[in-house]
Assembly symmetry: C2
Homo-oligomer: 263 residues x 2
Amino acid sequence: MEEKMNCELEVSRRNFLSTSGKILAGTAIASTVLASQADKAHAYGYETGFAYTKLNPEEVANITYHNYFKRWCASSVIAGFSELLQKKVGGLWKTFPIDGMRWAHGGMAGWGALCGTLTGAGTICGLCTNDTDVAEAMANDLAFYYSYTELPSYTPPGKPEKAEIHHMTMAGTPVCHISVGRWMRAEGSAFLDPERAERCARLAANIAMETCHMLNDHADGKFKPKHALLFNVAANGITSQNNCMDCHGQHVPAPDTYATLKK
Amino acid sequence: MEEKMNCELEVSRRNFLSTSGKILAGTAIASTVLASQADKAHAYGYETGFAYTKLNPEEVANITYHNYFKRWCASSVIAGFSELLQKKVGGLWKTFPIDGMRWAHGGMAGWGALCGTLTGAGTICGLCTNDTDVAEAMANDLAFYYSYTELPSYTPPGKPEKAEIHHMTMAGTPVCHISVGRWMRAEGSAFLDPERAERCARLAANIAMETCHMLNDHADGKFKPKHALLFNVAANGITSQNNCMDCHGQHVPAPDTYATLKK
């Protein structure tokens, strides 16, 4: 996997640089050095007793959707898997407190940082796999999917729990505040409107479904990461996303900004 | 607790509005309505088999610090608790895969969203308590502590693992990218420098120590939240932080921006 990752890292880095408007000779050189250093991050296997068996993605999504209105984003994704795995596998799934991750809702108790659907999904990936490279590749692919897919595309069978909604939006980021804000602007909804809750419930269902596809592939021995790990550090010289201008405007720091301060 | 929270919510809302430069009559009215709606969020108890017994915060911090250099931010905080609780309590702690949360490093596989130390700490709070109100109040207090304390203040006993470091910074946010970027600027370090790893390891130790203080208080029946839950939704009409101008500059949307779009 490592060789493939290195190749993808380079492709990802080039794609990013070519679209970010930051192509400078110095930047490219700094990024290559950073990519090489980032590759040295050590991955390793670990033991887990949380066994996974292939699940029906639609069923996982449906359970997630209906759980949202009590458990909110993070725990509803966990419920989508755990409620089924408790029955189909049993064992440790009966011991994991689904609501023990509810604190992650709204980007950590409403602080708007990492979308709770991703905290829930990442937790499931980490419990169900046994190699940091695999769990982190899944988390990375999920962050790409979340950021660059028009969501929510999931539609509940039957009557919606809260409201009909009319828009899908592309977040450009896994950050709750920006993601939900962009959707609210498109839909014309306030945060506490039933439409916003409906949107986040459907989004949680989408993320659970995507996670289930990856875990099913992994169970079949055919999971392949779509994106390079740590592309962000390689491209920007810091943990980051690809939406630099959302916050920095035209004044995006170069990747080697802080690397050169001491030189 | 609910009555106390309502009171604190109001205080927090006023404090925030009075310092944010956004005091407008319409804003204040909208915020009051939002605060009232946010209060309706339902908290509930849940079962967990992950028993907690009081731990020595310095010991937890030290284990967290040394784990960082293999396991990174999220899993190192979990290791700080789990390695001790496996010995002192046993039971389910022997079954939880510490490395199953490593994907959360660097704000989710390096995406720079929620600092992984908080994902790790929140997970421990959620596993060790049995009421969403309590776990979320701890997560909320941790986000305040992380955002508004000069960190890292933790100093390892003996020789540092990677490097001596010279600066503490106030993040103003629980977001990894901004937090680590502010420290890198102060220290003059690049992300892959040993100093940056040293900083994040010490920060993880600080967060683990603060979490341990809260859980010890809770074990003694004297944990009291310092801050109101969902102050962010009440103040800003969206999941958010108090650092609006960091990204929005002078153009911070009013709390009721989207609430009024349909009216």
